[in-house]
Assembly symmetry: C3
Homo-oligomer: 137 residues x 3
Protein backbone atom coordinates (compact mmCIF):
# COMPACT_ATOMS: atom_id res chain seq x y z
CA UNK A 1 0.00 0.00 0.00
CA UNK A 2 2.68 2.52 -0.98
CA UNK A 3 0.53 3.91 -3.82
CA UNK A 4 1.09 7.64 -4.23
CA UNK A 5 -1.87 9.95 -3.66
CA UNK A 6 -2.23 13.41 -5.20
CA UNK A 7 -4.72 15.88 -3.74
CA UNK A 8 -5.54 19.26 -5.17
CA UNK A 9 -7.14 21.54 -2.61
CA UNK A 10 -9.21 24.45 -3.87
CA UNK A 11 -11.58 25.44 -1.09
CA UNK A 12 -10.18 27.15 1.98
CA UNK A 13 -13.09 26.81 4.41
CA UNK A 14 -12.37 25.06 7.70
CA UNK A 15 -14.81 22.21 7.08
CA UNK A 16 -13.31 21.18 3.74
CA UNK A 17 -9.80 21.70 5.11
CA UNK A 18 -10.61 19.42 8.02
CA UNK A 19 -12.05 16.73 5.76
CA UNK A 20 -8.97 17.02 3.53
CA UNK A 21 -6.53 16.91 6.44
CA UNK A 22 -8.18 13.76 7.79
CA UNK A 23 -7.93 12.08 4.37
CA UNK A 24 -4.27 13.12 4.04
CA UNK A 25 -3.40 11.96 7.55
CA UNK A 26 -5.16 8.65 7.03
CA UNK A 27 -3.28 7.94 3.81
CA UNK A 28 0.05 9.05 5.34
CA UNK A 29 -0.53 6.76 8.35
CA UNK A 30 -0.77 3.87 5.89
CA UNK A 31 2.66 4.78 4.58
CA UNK A 32 1.45 6.34 1.35
CA UNK A 33 3.29 9.28 -0.21
CA UNK A 34 0.82 12.19 -0.42
CA UNK A 35 1.32 15.17 -2.71
CA UNK A 36 -0.90 18.17 -1.91
CA UNK A 37 -1.38 20.99 -4.44
CA UNK A 38 -2.90 24.30 -3.26
CA UNK A 39 -5.09 26.13 -5.77
CA UNK A 40 -7.06 29.31 -5.34
CA UNK A 41 -8.70 30.18 -2.01
CA UNK A 42 -7.09 27.40 0.00
CA UNK A 43 -3.76 29.10 -0.55
CA UNK A 44 -4.97 32.10 1.41
CA UNK A 45 -5.60 29.80 4.40
CA UNK A 46 -1.93 28.75 4.33
CA UNK A 47 -0.57 32.30 4.77
CA UNK A 48 1.55 32.29 7.90
CA UNK A 49 -0.38 35.23 9.34
CA UNK A 50 -3.78 33.60 8.77
CA UNK A 51 -3.34 29.86 9.14
CA UNK A 52 -4.77 29.86 12.66
CA UNK A 53 -7.63 32.20 11.80
CA UNK A 54 -11.28 31.29 11.34
CA UNK A 55 -11.71 30.44 7.64
CA UNK A 56 -15.47 30.02 7.71
CA UNK A 57 -17.57 27.07 6.60
CA UNK A 58 -19.44 26.07 3.46
CA UNK A 59 -22.74 28.00 3.26
CA UNK A 60 -24.71 24.77 3.71
CA UNK A 61 -23.27 24.33 7.23
CA UNK A 62 -25.68 26.90 8.57
CA UNK A 63 -26.01 27.80 12.25
CA UNK A 64 -26.35 24.13 13.30
CA UNK A 65 -23.14 23.25 11.48
CA UNK A 66 -21.28 26.15 13.06
CA UNK A 67 -22.41 25.04 16.51
CA UNK A 68 -21.34 21.47 15.78
CA UNK A 69 -17.87 22.64 14.70
CA UNK A 70 -17.48 24.83 17.78
CA UNK A 71 -18.59 21.99 20.05
CA UNK A 72 -15.97 19.66 18.58
CA UNK A 73 -13.30 22.35 18.98
CA UNK A 74 -14.18 22.72 22.66
CA UNK A 75 -13.88 18.93 22.99
CA UNK A 76 -10.28 19.26 21.81
CA UNK A 77 -10.39 18.41 18.10
CA UNK A 78 -7.09 19.35 16.47
CA UNK A 79 -7.43 22.08 13.83
CA UNK A 80 -6.73 21.03 10.22
CA UNK A 81 -3.25 22.61 10.14
CA UNK A 82 -2.28 20.66 13.25
CA UNK A 83 -3.54 17.43 11.67
CA UNK A 84 -1.49 18.22 8.56
CA UNK A 85 1.57 19.02 10.68
CA UNK A 86 1.32 15.65 12.40
CA UNK A 87 0.83 13.93 9.03
CA UNK A 88 3.97 15.63 7.72
CA UNK A 89 5.93 14.40 10.74
CA UNK A 90 5.14 10.85 9.63
CA UNK A 91 7.07 11.67 6.48
CA UNK A 92 5.85 11.30 2.92
CA UNK A 93 3.51 14.32 2.83
CA UNK A 94 4.53 17.17 0.54
CA UNK A 95 2.56 20.41 0.14
CA UNK A 96 3.09 22.60 -2.92
CA UNK A 97 1.47 25.92 -3.80
CA UNK A 98 0.15 26.31 -7.36
CA UNK A 99 2.25 28.98 -9.08
CA UNK A 100 -0.75 30.48 -10.90
CA UNK A 101 -2.60 30.82 -7.61
CA UNK A 102 0.43 32.58 -6.09
CA UNK A 103 0.03 35.15 -8.89
CA UNK A 104 -3.69 35.37 -8.24
CA UNK A 105 -3.24 36.16 -4.56
CA UNK A 106 -0.16 38.26 -5.31
CA UNK A 107 1.94 36.60 -2.63
CA UNK A 108 5.42 35.13 -2.38
CA UNK A 109 6.68 31.97 -0.73
CA UNK A 110 7.78 33.91 2.35
CA UNK A 111 4.12 34.75 3.01
CA UNK A 112 3.29 31.06 3.44
CA UNK A 113 3.36 28.88 6.54
CA UNK A 114 6.32 26.46 6.72
CA UNK A 115 3.81 23.63 6.15
CA UNK A 116 4.13 24.57 2.47
CA UNK A 117 7.23 23.00 0.93
CA UNK A 118 7.39 25.04 -2.25
CA UNK A 119 5.70 26.37 -5.37
CA UNK A 120 5.09 24.36 -8.51
CA UNK A 121 3.18 24.53 -11.79
CA UNK A 122 0.40 22.25 -12.93
CA UNK A 123 2.78 20.19 -15.08
CA UNK A 124 4.82 19.27 -12.02
CA UNK A 125 1.58 18.33 -10.25
CA UNK A 126 0.56 15.91 -12.98
CA UNK A 127 4.03 14.44 -13.30
CA UNK A 128 4.15 13.74 -9.57
CA UNK A 129 0.60 12.37 -9.59
CA UNK A 130 1.79 9.94 -12.23
CA UNK A 131 -0.83 7.21 -12.60
CA UNK A 132 -1.82 7.18 -8.92
CA UNK A 133 -5.05 8.37 -7.32
CA UNK A 134 -6.00 12.03 -7.74
CA UNK A 135 -8.57 13.80 -5.58
CA UNK A 136 -9.88 17.38 -5.90
CA UNK A 137 -11.37 18.91 -2.77
CA UNK B 1 -14.82 -3.64 -15.61
CA UNK B 2 -15.01 -4.76 -11.98
CA UNK B 3 -12.65 -2.02 -10.79
CA UNK B 4 -13.62 -0.79 -7.34
CA UNK B 5 -14.70 2.83 -6.98
CA UNK B 6 -14.45 4.82 -3.73
CA UNK B 7 -16.46 8.02 -3.32
CA UNK B 8 -16.22 10.39 -0.40
CA UNK B 9 -19.27 12.61 -0.14
CA UNK B 10 -18.92 15.87 1.78
CA UNK B 11 -21.65 18.19 0.56
CA UNK B 12 -25.25 17.46 1.50
CA UNK B 13 -27.10 19.70 -0.94
CA UNK B 14 -29.62 18.02 -3.22
CA UNK B 15 -27.81 18.97 -6.43
CA UNK B 16 -24.47 17.43 -5.44
CA UNK B 17 -26.25 14.44 -3.93
CA UNK B 18 -28.10 13.90 -7.20
CA UNK B 19 -24.91 14.16 -9.26
CA UNK B 20 -23.22 11.74 -6.85
CA UNK B 21 -26.13 9.27 -6.89
CA UNK B 22 -26.12 9.22 -10.69
CA UNK B 23 -22.37 8.52 -10.75
CA UNK B 24 -22.76 5.76 -8.15
CA UNK B 25 -25.71 4.18 -9.97
CA UNK B 26 -23.89 4.31 -13.29
CA UNK B 27 -20.83 2.58 -11.88
CA UNK B 28 -22.95 -0.01 -10.04
CA UNK B 29 -24.88 -0.77 -13.24
CA UNK B 30 -21.55 -1.65 -14.85
CA UNK B 31 -20.97 -4.20 -12.11
CA UNK B 32 -18.39 -2.17 -10.23
CA UNK B 33 -18.14 -2.35 -6.43
CA UNK B 34 -18.76 1.17 -5.07
CA UNK B 35 -17.71 2.24 -1.59
CA UNK B 36 -19.31 5.50 -0.39
CA UNK B 37 -17.90 7.39 2.61
CA UNK B 38 -20.03 10.12 4.26
CA UNK B 39 -18.13 13.10 5.66
CA UNK B 40 -19.47 16.25 7.27
CA UNK B 41 -22.73 17.81 6.06
CA UNK B 42 -23.75 14.99 3.78
CA UNK B 43 -24.16 12.81 6.85
CA UNK B 44 -26.93 15.07 8.10
CA UNK B 45 -28.84 14.38 4.86
CA UNK B 46 -28.73 10.63 5.64
CA UNK B 47 -30.53 10.96 9.01
CA UNK B 48 -33.64 8.82 8.86
CA UNK B 49 -35.83 11.73 9.90
CA UNK B 50 -34.42 14.08 7.25
CA UNK B 51 -33.48 11.98 4.24
CA UNK B 52 -36.63 12.98 2.35
CA UNK B 53 -36.40 16.65 3.30
CA UNK B 54 -35.31 19.53 1.11
CA UNK B 55 -31.52 19.84 1.52
CA UNK B 56 -31.09 22.99 -0.52
CA UNK B 57 -28.83 23.63 -3.48
CA UNK B 58 -25.38 25.10 -4.04
CA UNK B 59 -25.55 28.92 -3.83
CA UNK B 60 -24.65 29.19 -7.52
CA UNK B 61 -27.91 27.43 -8.50
CA UNK B 62 -29.85 30.64 -7.95
CA UNK B 63 -33.56 31.01 -8.66
CA UNK B 64 -33.22 29.61 -12.19
CA UNK B 65 -31.50 26.50 -10.85
CA UNK B 66 -34.17 26.00 -8.20
CA UNK B 67 -36.90 26.25 -10.83
CA UNK B 68 -35.05 23.74 -13.03
CA UNK B 69 -34.77 21.26 -10.15
CA UNK B 70 -38.47 21.64 -9.28
CA UNK B 71 -39.49 21.19 -12.91
CA UNK B 72 -37.53 17.92 -13.14
CA UNK B 73 -39.09 16.71 -9.89
CA UNK B 74 -42.58 17.36 -11.29
CA UNK B 75 -41.57 15.36 -14.38
CA UNK B 76 -40.93 12.41 -12.09
CA UNK B 77 -37.16 12.42 -11.51
CA UNK B 78 -36.27 10.04 -8.70
CA UNK B 79 -34.74 11.79 -5.66
CA UNK B 80 -31.08 10.98 -4.93
CA UNK B 81 -31.87 8.59 -2.07
CA UNK B 82 -34.19 6.60 -4.33
CA UNK B 83 -31.44 6.42 -6.99
CA UNK B 84 -29.01 5.20 -4.32
CA UNK B 85 -31.55 2.65 -3.05
CA UNK B 86 -31.94 1.23 -6.55
CA UNK B 87 -28.16 1.18 -6.99
CA UNK B 88 -27.83 -0.76 -3.73
CA UNK B 89 -30.39 -3.31 -4.93
CA UNK B 90 -28.03 -4.09 -7.82
CA UNK B 91 -25.54 -5.19 -5.16
CA UNK B 92 -22.00 -3.97 -4.77
CA UNK B 93 -22.77 -0.54 -3.28
CA UNK B 94 -21.75 0.00 0.33
CA UNK B 95 -22.32 3.24 2.27
CA UNK B 96 -20.29 3.99 5.39
CA UNK B 97 -20.48 7.01 7.71
CA UNK B 98 -17.19 8.63 8.71
CA UNK B 99 -16.73 8.09 12.45
CA UNK B 100 -15.27 11.58 13.00
CA UNK B 101 -18.29 13.12 11.29
CA UNK B 102 -20.61 11.08 13.54
CA UNK B 103 -18.86 12.80 16.47
CA UNK B 104 -19.20 16.18 14.76
CA UNK B 105 -22.96 15.82 14.31
CA UNK B 106 -23.26 14.07 17.67
CA UNK B 107 -25.39 11.25 16.29
CA UNK B 108 -25.42 7.46 16.56
CA UNK B 109 -25.96 4.80 13.93
CA UNK B 110 -29.60 4.44 14.92
CA UNK B 111 -30.18 8.03 13.73
CA UNK B 112 -29.22 7.09 10.18
CA UNK B 113 -31.34 5.80 7.33
CA UNK B 114 -30.93 2.05 6.59
CA UNK B 115 -29.17 3.08 3.35
CA UNK B 116 -26.11 3.52 5.55
CA UNK B 117 -24.41 0.17 6.19
CA UNK B 118 -22.17 1.20 9.07
CA UNK B 119 -19.58 3.55 10.51
CA UNK B 120 -15.88 3.46 9.69
CA UNK B 121 -12.71 5.49 10.15
CA UNK B 122 -10.61 7.05 7.44
CA UNK B 123 -8.09 4.19 7.57
CA UNK B 124 -10.80 1.70 6.64
CA UNK B 125 -11.83 4.03 3.80
CA UNK B 126 -8.33 4.08 2.30
CA UNK B 127 -7.84 0.36 2.77
CA UNK B 128 -11.07 -0.38 0.92
CA UNK B 129 -10.26 2.18 -1.78
CA UNK B 130 -7.02 0.26 -2.31
CA UNK B 131 -5.50 1.42 -5.60
CA UNK B 132 -8.82 1.99 -7.37
CA UNK B 133 -10.43 5.27 -8.38
CA UNK B 134 -11.24 7.77 -5.64
CA UNK B 135 -13.65 10.68 -6.08
CA UNK B 136 -14.49 13.48 -3.61
CA UNK B 137 -17.83 15.22 -4.13
CA UNK C 1 2.44 9.23 -19.64
CA UNK C 2 -0.53 8.63 -21.95
CA UNK C 3 -2.83 7.66 -19.05
CA UNK C 4 -6.40 8.78 -19.71
CA UNK C 5 -7.91 11.33 -17.35
CA UNK C 6 -11.66 11.73 -16.75
CA UNK C 7 -12.98 14.93 -15.16
CA UNK C 8 -16.56 15.54 -14.14
CA UNK C 9 -17.30 19.23 -13.74
CA UNK C 10 -20.26 20.22 -11.58
CA UNK C 11 -19.69 23.78 -10.46
CA UNK C 12 -19.98 26.60 -12.99
CA UNK C 13 -18.33 29.44 -11.12
CA UNK C 14 -15.38 31.13 -12.80
CA UNK C 15 -12.89 30.18 -10.09
CA UNK C 16 -13.58 26.45 -10.21
CA UNK C 17 -13.77 26.58 -14.01
CA UNK C 18 -10.36 28.25 -14.11
CA UNK C 19 -8.83 25.69 -11.75
CA UNK C 20 -10.38 22.90 -13.84
CA UNK C 21 -9.21 24.40 -17.15
CA UNK C 22 -5.65 24.67 -15.84
CA UNK C 23 -5.68 21.02 -14.72
CA UNK C 24 -7.10 19.92 -18.10
CA UNK C 25 -4.59 22.00 -20.06
CA UNK C 26 -1.70 20.71 -17.98
CA UNK C 27 -2.69 17.08 -18.53
CA UNK C 28 -3.29 17.67 -22.26
CA UNK C 29 0.13 19.32 -22.61
CA UNK C 30 1.63 16.08 -21.28
CA UNK C 31 -0.07 14.20 -24.08
CA UNK C 32 -2.77 12.67 -21.93
CA UNK C 33 -6.28 12.06 -23.33
CA UNK C 34 -8.73 14.06 -21.20
CA UNK C 35 -12.44 13.33 -21.07
CA UNK C 36 -14.56 16.11 -19.54
CA UNK C 37 -18.15 15.46 -18.42
CA UNK C 38 -20.44 18.43 -17.69
CA UNK C 39 -22.98 17.97 -14.90
CA UNK C 40 -25.46 20.42 -13.47
CA UNK C 41 -24.58 24.12 -13.20
CA UNK C 42 -21.38 23.98 -15.18
CA UNK C 43 -23.42 23.11 -18.22
CA UNK C 44 -25.13 26.49 -18.04
CA UNK C 45 -21.70 28.13 -18.31
CA UNK C 46 -21.12 26.32 -21.63
CA UNK C 47 -24.22 27.78 -23.34
CA UNK C 48 -23.02 29.61 -26.42
CA UNK C 49 -24.83 32.79 -25.37
CA UNK C 50 -23.30 32.80 -21.87
CA UNK C 51 -19.85 31.25 -22.13
CA UNK C 52 -18.15 34.66 -22.05
CA UNK C 53 -20.35 36.00 -19.25
CA UNK C 54 -19.41 36.50 -15.62
CA UNK C 55 -20.27 33.24 -13.85
CA UNK C 56 -19.50 34.43 -10.33
CA UNK C 57 -17.19 32.93 -7.75
CA UNK C 58 -17.51 30.58 -4.81
CA UNK C 59 -19.02 32.43 -1.82
CA UNK C 60 -15.76 32.04 0.12
CA UNK C 61 -13.94 34.24 -2.43
CA UNK C 62 -15.41 37.35 -0.86
CA UNK C 63 -14.53 40.88 -1.93
CA UNK C 64 -10.78 40.22 -1.70
CA UNK C 65 -11.10 37.21 -3.97
CA UNK C 66 -13.14 39.14 -6.49
CA UNK C 67 -10.52 41.89 -6.58
CA UNK C 68 -7.77 39.30 -7.05
CA UNK C 69 -9.60 37.72 -9.97
CA UNK C 70 -10.21 41.10 -11.62
CA UNK C 71 -6.57 42.10 -11.15
CA UNK C 72 -5.40 38.91 -12.88
CA UNK C 73 -7.85 39.51 -15.72
CA UNK C 74 -6.46 43.01 -16.24
CA UNK C 75 -2.96 41.47 -16.33
CA UNK C 76 -4.11 39.41 -19.29
CA UNK C 77 -5.01 36.01 -17.80
CA UNK C 78 -6.88 33.92 -20.37
CA UNK C 79 -10.45 33.08 -19.35
CA UNK C 80 -11.18 29.40 -18.64
CA UNK C 81 -12.94 28.82 -21.97
CA UNK C 82 -9.92 30.17 -23.83
CA UNK C 83 -7.62 27.86 -21.84
CA UNK C 84 -9.90 24.94 -22.70
CA UNK C 85 -9.96 25.97 -26.36
CA UNK C 86 -6.16 25.96 -26.46
CA UNK C 87 -6.09 22.60 -24.69
CA UNK C 88 -8.46 21.18 -27.28
CA UNK C 89 -6.20 22.42 -30.08
CA UNK C 90 -3.46 20.20 -28.68
CA UNK C 91 -5.77 17.28 -29.41
CA UNK C 92 -6.93 14.62 -26.98
CA UNK C 93 -9.43 16.72 -25.02
CA UNK C 94 -13.08 15.76 -25.40
CA UNK C 95 -15.96 17.56 -23.68
CA UNK C 96 -19.33 15.84 -23.24
CA UNK C 97 -22.52 17.18 -21.68
CA UNK C 98 -24.33 14.89 -19.23
CA UNK C 99 -27.68 13.92 -20.80
CA UNK C 100 -29.55 14.15 -17.48
CA UNK C 101 -28.21 17.66 -16.95
CA UNK C 102 -29.37 18.64 -20.45
CA UNK C 103 -32.89 17.62 -19.30
CA UNK C 104 -32.46 19.55 -16.06
CA UNK C 105 -31.56 22.78 -17.86
CA UNK C 106 -34.05 22.00 -20.63
CA UNK C 107 -31.56 22.75 -23.40
CA UNK C 108 -30.47 21.07 -26.63
CA UNK C 109 -27.04 20.57 -28.13
CA UNK C 110 -27.50 23.58 -30.39
CA UNK C 111 -27.63 25.79 -27.28
CA UNK C 112 -24.06 24.79 -26.37
CA UNK C 113 -20.75 26.34 -27.36
CA UNK C 114 -18.79 24.37 -29.99
CA UNK C 115 -16.29 23.51 -27.23
CA UNK C 116 -18.78 20.80 -26.29
CA UNK C 117 -18.36 17.74 -28.51
CA UNK C 118 -21.61 15.98 -27.69
CA UNK C 119 -24.01 14.60 -25.12
CA UNK C 120 -23.56 11.33 -23.26
CA UNK C 121 -24.99 9.38 -20.34
CA UNK C 122 -23.21 8.42 -17.17
CA UNK C 123 -22.56 4.89 -18.44
CA UNK C 124 -20.56 6.27 -21.36
CA UNK C 125 -18.63 8.45 -18.90
CA UNK C 126 -17.59 5.48 -16.78
CA UNK C 127 -16.76 3.34 -19.79
CA UNK C 128 -14.48 6.04 -21.17
CA UNK C 129 -12.94 6.68 -17.74
CA UNK C 130 -12.06 2.99 -17.70
CA UNK C 131 -9.54 2.39 -14.91
CA UNK C 132 -7.78 5.76 -15.31
CA UNK C 133 -7.85 8.73 -12.96
CA UNK C 134 -11.21 10.36 -12.23
CA UNK C 135 -11.59 13.84 -10.75
CA UNK C 136 -14.81 15.63 -9.68
CA UNK C 137 -14.64 19.44 -9.55
Amino acid sequence: MSEPLAISLFSGTDDRLNAAAVLVAGAAALGRPVHVFLQYWVLDAFRSDRIGADHGLAPEAGADGLNAVHRLQRLGQAPWHETLRQAKELGGVEIQACSLSMDLLDITESDLDPLVDGVEGVTAFWLTASDGQVVFI
